[in-house]
Symmetry: D2
Subunit: 375 residues, 4 copies
């Protein structure tokens, strides 16, 4: 049985256990003071948190903001951004959520005052990372530029919270943000619509979720490409009409064949492979659209003539956005797909390093590895 998330009088402990990252690979479990929610913020008692590929990058290389900005590693920073939990304390003016309600998170709260935020593009906030000191513009990227969820408690802006549907397990709820990222990709593509063809390249968590969400929205056919049959089979269970093992078959030829030579309307690129964009341009029809949810680390050769000649539109995303996480939560509440299939392993918070190892080394075919905060 769980401990109370916060009594009616708002009592919560003064300290909490939290993992902190001091430098590449330097992950420590410490006791930290509980953070205090400000106006429009909520203190969330973390119940479960999933590991994302980006967490591995942060653990091994440091935060993108540190690297891009040349900043030294923070001391005492807590990563983790795919978490869910229970409302434990309300900041001033919050009535969107109630004490004791279960919530899942999205990553980005924009500053609300730059040009992009004013357009609703808060994941492209021009004040990214500015949430401290004299220049506190209020931007937050949970687990990236602020403390995240590998801890017993975390503070969240109300804009980064969605209600967890009744009857959904903690583990499944950690996947809402992943589904939201897939949904956002399909959204920025101009609105995937029922009957349009969708190819998803790369069966990682976002790719698998793109299959599930695309199918739920009526895409037809939904084609998934990848290298491992176990992942592709999971794609079928999540809604793929066709899967292509690119070790056995040329994916461009296969997509062309499966669509009667026409190609698909949309490609969600989730592999990060060097050749993926050029292949995607051969998979879409003229006027088609491609979303990059993954990307190679280095510059890669791209056939820009094909992009221009075929009126192809290319979109890049940095995670979820708009109301995509809310929409994804709605689809999951309606049980349009079985996200739980992606959850493979669970560890207690204390065993986070082991959890990371399972995820990184894909031990026992690990996909989504969840850390539960036992109490």
């Amino acid at each position: 049985m769980k401990a109370a998330a916060g009594d009616k009088d708002g009592s919560v402990p003064k300290t909490m256990k939290a993992w902190v990252l001091d430098g590449p690979g330097e992950l420590r479990l410490v006791d930290k003071p509980l953070p205090e929610p400000g106006p429009a913020e909520v203190l969330v008692r973390v119940d479960a948190v999933a590991i994302c590929g980006t967490d591995v990058e942060i653990l091994t290389k440091g935060l993108p903001a540190w690297i891009e900005g040349g900043l030294p590693f923070h001391k005492n920073y807590t990563p983790g951004h795919e978490y869910m939990g229970t409302v434990a304390k309300l900041g001033a003016s919050v009535d969107e959520f109630k004490m004791g309600e279960r919530v899942a998170v999205e990553v980005h709260a924009g500053c609300g005052r730059c040009e992009r935020c004013r357009m609703g593009m808060y994941t492209s906030c021009l004040n990214y990372g500015l949430n401290y000191g004299d220049k506190n513009k209020g931007h937050r990227a949970n687990g990236f530029t602020t403390d995240g969820g590998f801890a017993e408690y975390a503070v969240n802006h109300v804009n980064t919270l969605v209600h967890v549907p009744d009857g959904m397990s903690d583990e499944e709820a950690t996947l809402i943000v992943t589904a939201g990222t897939a949904m956002y990709g399909l959204d920025v593509l101009g609105g995937l619509i029922a009957g349009d063809g969708l190819a998803v390249t790369g069966p990682g968590p976002i790719g698998l979720m793109s299959v599930a969400v695309g199918k739920a929205l009526g895409a037809q056919p939904v084609i998934l490409t990848g290298t491992r049959d176990s992942r592709l089979n999971l794609g079928v269970r999540l809604g793929a009409d066709h899967v292509i093992n690119i070790r056995k078959e040329n994916p461009v030829e296969a997509v062309r064949r499966l669509t009667g030579g026409k190609g698909v309307h949309y490609v969600m690129e989730c592999s990060g492979a060097e050749t993926a964009l050029n292949e995607a341009m051969d998979m879409v029809n003229r006027g088609g659209r491609i979303c990059l949810a993954a990307f190679p680390g280095e510059r890669v050769p791209v056939d820009l003539a094909k992009l221009a000649r075929n009126n192809i539109y290319l979109f890049g995303i940095r995670g979820e956005g708009n109301s995509a996480v809310h929409r994804a939560a709605a689809l999951m509440a309606q049980k349009r797909f079985d996200a739980k299939l992606m959850h493979t392993h669970t560890f207690p918070l204390e065993e986070l390093p082991t959890a990371f190892r399972y995820f990184r080394e894909r031990i026992e075919d690990a996909i989504k590895v969840v850390v539960k905060v036992s109490r």
Copy 2:
């Protein structure tokens, strides 16, 4: 010569002169303490403020929020929302504006956390008016739900400020927000584009600005309808290709004739006349769009069958929105139209009641009456 807006050490007076409205018609000039800008807010030393038709309604009937919400009149509330001035003090985290810069305002700062604000539709904020007490969601409608500009100083959220272009007079700068409303109307219509026909019905300030902005964006033809030749002639100077005095000519027939029987693509309805919407539906072509920037006080008969059969889209706006005020300021900085033509009278702040009388009774053909704060 003007007094300093605020010394480098930020010194401003402790009190200011301000008009306050205690009830319908009960306008008093008082001394008030200077308001203090909070985080993301700026204290503006008001230099000039124009009178809008809505101000007259507020003065005589009270605020819409009071009427709709059944609230009693505030005591000590200061109206006025078409103002400009000089940055006199910066709240925490503000670096978007500098001390001493000239700024003009827009009316609405959304809460930034409701569904509409998150989409960028902050003038449709679902927390409209909630900027006080326990439920302070941060929504502000300057001069409507918060103190406005008929005073020496006013506090503004940075989202409601734009830079005043160099070389633009204070009087002209008070018109930026009106141009922004016209721009927003043309925007929500789906993007007026060069070469499309535009009819503007009603040559009040928003109608005249719609002519100017529509022409600047390349609309062709731009047709203005009204009852007074002096206003219509002004419309010509602001860019109308054709004007129609509806006392002399049937406006629907005239629009049809001027467009070779085809009708226009867009109608901006700025008259509030009872028959205006039905006439607008006869002016637009099939698939055309109509924006209501004005409306009758009572329910009026509307031919909905025509709307459905002709695939007409109808949009209502509540003032400016999106980045429309910024866009309008850019066009005015580029001198695409001569907004100054609409400014007819100036009075000192002390003579606000006289200024209201000129505006309301259209004395000497008054259009935009501006109150200057002399120092």
Copy 3:
């Protein structure tokens, strides 16, 4: 067993049975020569055709085009626009469809050369009805401005045909165009998205289909209003989360209650009731959207102030449009809802007058009455 739709050598009979309308109420079954498909056209052997409310209006009052245009009734005109059948002959250049394939229709083929068609808004074609004589611009509204489907054969432009999914009955396939109209309504509303609230007012065929399609797209909640419990119960089976019998409960209050006071994001108005638009404006939240798929015959009082103050967008549609019929067919192929539930009665072609009577008088609670062409 059905006769061949057309032998491989394209042989079809020289004449066919067809109902023709000479004037209001003057419906006759005659023998007509078979029409010949031109370039980009297909001859369809009609297998089944459903009766629509508009057919009743045409039968009793004449075609809108006749009434609006003041034209006399055509002699020999064949109504009927919700039909499906089998490809019996291909016009020049057609390879989009093959002999013997089953197809369902949509109503409108635009001229392809006016401004609206060039934008993709072919149901708003500016050359509506011009498909004869010197001014043959190629516009076709099947069963409205050209001969329709109450006959053994009908000619269709390829743009008005969709493939019927395998395993779908003829009767169900006649409902694709109705689902397409519902889909188009949800589309022009700006894209209904998963998790948004939808109220559908009026449980006629388009209203019921709007429930089904809205639910399939992830709307939440889907609320249906009406006067007859049998229809409302059918709405539940098609996906409504809540139904409101407006004889027993105020629909505005009910929608507000069911949405926690927030209202819905979208209203599809399918009742044509005089008060429906004003009620819809009280059902949607600020910035919400309303689509009129039905409308009262006379002008009705509308509260335009509410529309403007609440930034409400109002859209009118004239049937299906864009790719909505294709999308609807895709959802039905994927069995996202059970359209068959709406089909209540079947009659042979010869008994069309009886079929009309069942539909019009709602005998045995008739909803969709289908006429089958027996061979």
Copy 4:
């Protein structure tokens, strides 16, 4: 004085002079029979035709369709796609244009029946090039897949014609299609709006037109980059606020400096340089948009991580599209910019090879070289 374009009785000569291309470099002036306009087509008496960079590619390498499709060179094919002239004969059903009216052309007429055409994306027609034989889907790309304007007469679908404004010279009218391409690029970018920053990279004809059109639409600032001061100076006269000679200054640093470190909202890439896209991604702000109107011949290294991390949207275009040519014609009719500045040389039709040489070798700083058909 010009000869009649066609007498009132429609008399035109039986033959005409026309340049034909038999193979790479094999350009001959021949006598050809006059083509006959079909339904929805117009015979245009060509008065002037400009040379485009693509013409040079066709002349030297052959048509893209030949190369991509592996087809042999047509014999007797007439290139040329930037022409204007006078209506000399009307095909069946044409009343959009009258005999003797002056018209300019756009390149693409879509088939009107594929998915993209039905969406209004006719330049992405899925039946590109299919305008002959059994598969005549009606697609036309004037001067590419059908005979073009290096001739005395040419046939055009009405969808590819716009009226030439009164008082505009023949030479200037040949530039409408170029302005239309620039306009389309700014359109697909999501609608350049007043006040947004625009960088145009590459001062060729489309780049210069992008400067002119962007400025006319209110972009601020408009920045042009290039290598030759003469072209950059011309850019200033067409509306550039700033020009950057990339031989003297790093263009990315310059754009950043000129925008106060913020970058621009849009980049129109018109240089085709290998590094252009990567530089463009450093010029736009987060969430910004880039349009490729030019492209390198070979695959080039692209930093896709930057594209994804910064939510950049990348669009490719194949020329004009939507109503962009109509919009451009409207702006030119309103004299919003002086397109004539780009016209540098004129030759008679007989001297087409010399005209090509001037254009290709940039003799006397040639920009737009026009061939006039003298009579």
